[in-house]
Amino acid sequence: MITTPQEIITRMPASVWQPFDDPLDSGWAVDNFWAHWGLFSVGIIGFVLLVVMGFIWFERRFISPMQLRIGPNRCGPFGLLQPVADAVKVMLKEDIVPNLADKVVHFIAPIAIFVPVLLMFAVIPVHEGVGLIPDLNVGILFVIAVGSIETIAVFMAGWGSNNKYSILGAMRSVAMMVSYEMPMAFAVVAVVLVTGTLSLQGIVQAQTIPFALLLPMAFILYFIGALAELQRTPFDLLEAESEIIAGYHIEYSGMKFAMFYLGEYGGAIIQSALITTLFLAGWKGPFLPPFLWFMIKLFAVFGMIVWIRATWPRVRIDQLMSFAWKYMLPLSIVNLLIVALEVIWFEGDAVTWWLVPINIVICGALLTGWATFFKLRGGPQVES
């Protein structure tokens, strides 16, 4: 089904996408370390800012018909300039620091929340060999490690604000991130077992079948974990407006609040990019240029996330915790065991088409079976 990137390039007409073809092979970028570094650093920052604005517009336009309304449509064609207007507004607002806040921590927190998001983009390949360090040999571990810094940043924001609602939000957030990181990591380990490499580029190259089909269980677990990591509906109770106002960023305004907003949507981009890379074969795809495929998959994954936001209600905190520990964690361990057995059975070459139906059947049976078990015993009951 999927041809190699070389085939795609040869089939492709020399078009506007030519710059994305192979800057590394054409020579100048890889020879000059500083040129490569500068180009991709500036490129990543620009890409994140642009796609954040794109995502905000896309989310508002996509969710409004689902809620029987129109959404922003006044500012520019189709309301496309609305995010620009919002950005200007938020930059011009007054920056308020509470009197009793820990001022240094209050100042560093928005930076500490946005920097890891940018760092994670360094290892994402948007095309064969194109990225800041797309072939880092500990790539996926790097992403998980840098992602875990976010927990501390949230804590800093909550504590530094000296506000009881923000500390409540921060506590909820940390409890959630710590519990959902584990099933996510197990899902990633299943992918690494099949590919035998930690490099994100290697993982994409190994996907002659998209792993969403080959490892459906890992895909579903990772997707749910990503929703929790992003603090989006149905797991948005750490900034639940009706309960604790806005969670850990109540006391922020102006540009600092914009940094949190950027961090949130930047996180959405990075998780969509990771799902694309790990489970949807990254830049690969027929006919269209690789970078375009990458963007299409990115927006498709984000569309799913928005769709879920429009559909599901928010969960309670006890439901959240029991879902992570009693449902997702056991399933992720069982999934890891099954994948390991398959890899041993096929002697390391488990990327074969006829494993796809088997794995889908196993996934369905496990999901429904464990759900029944989860409902009968334990489950989200409030203990008296």
């Binding site: 820990d102 240094v104 921590v105 880092l136 040999n137 500990v138 571990l141 790097f142 998980i144 490690a145 840098v146 875990s148 810094i149 927990t151 501390i152 804590f155 800093m156 504590w159 940390v174 710590v178 990181e181 930690l198």
Partner: protein, 177 residues
Amino acid sequence: MEQLGTGESVAFWIFAVLGVTAAIGVVAVKNLFRAALLLVFCFFTVAGIYGSLSADFMAVAQVLVYMGAISVLIIFAVMLTRDLRHGNPFNRGWAWALVICAALMGLLVFVFIDTSWPTIEATQVEAVNQVGKDEATTSAIAESIFDKDFGFLLPFEIAAAMILAAVIGAIALVRDK
């Protein structure tokens, strides 16, 4: 140190100075929460030093384990502390503590300098660098831990069982029945 390139040396010294400063800050700063954050920063600089020494897996594992997990535990412990307002305790014993710490530090430095560490010859450096380029350190570490004949598989499994027992014990202790 002579074997490092200039870029790596610069990175090493930046991380070393920042790390020592942060470590001193942990004991000198009065605000407990800031002290915990400085400790997290110190962990980060240690990861940077691993990175400058080409130990990629160690650097990432340092960030993952210490910054992602241990620091959260520490911060939770700080928040459960009573009398947080009083902050880092200082009393008259600080002079004695300084003397004892300086003596311990001196002893450690002496041991590090005096020991004849097993180092590789200059001729071997080339070969090692070649291997390092071809293979990730991750697989080398995995092989030396999990190898069937020369690895530490049994100790590893025993450690895992021990940690599991500790977790179950903790749950059994706090569970109300």
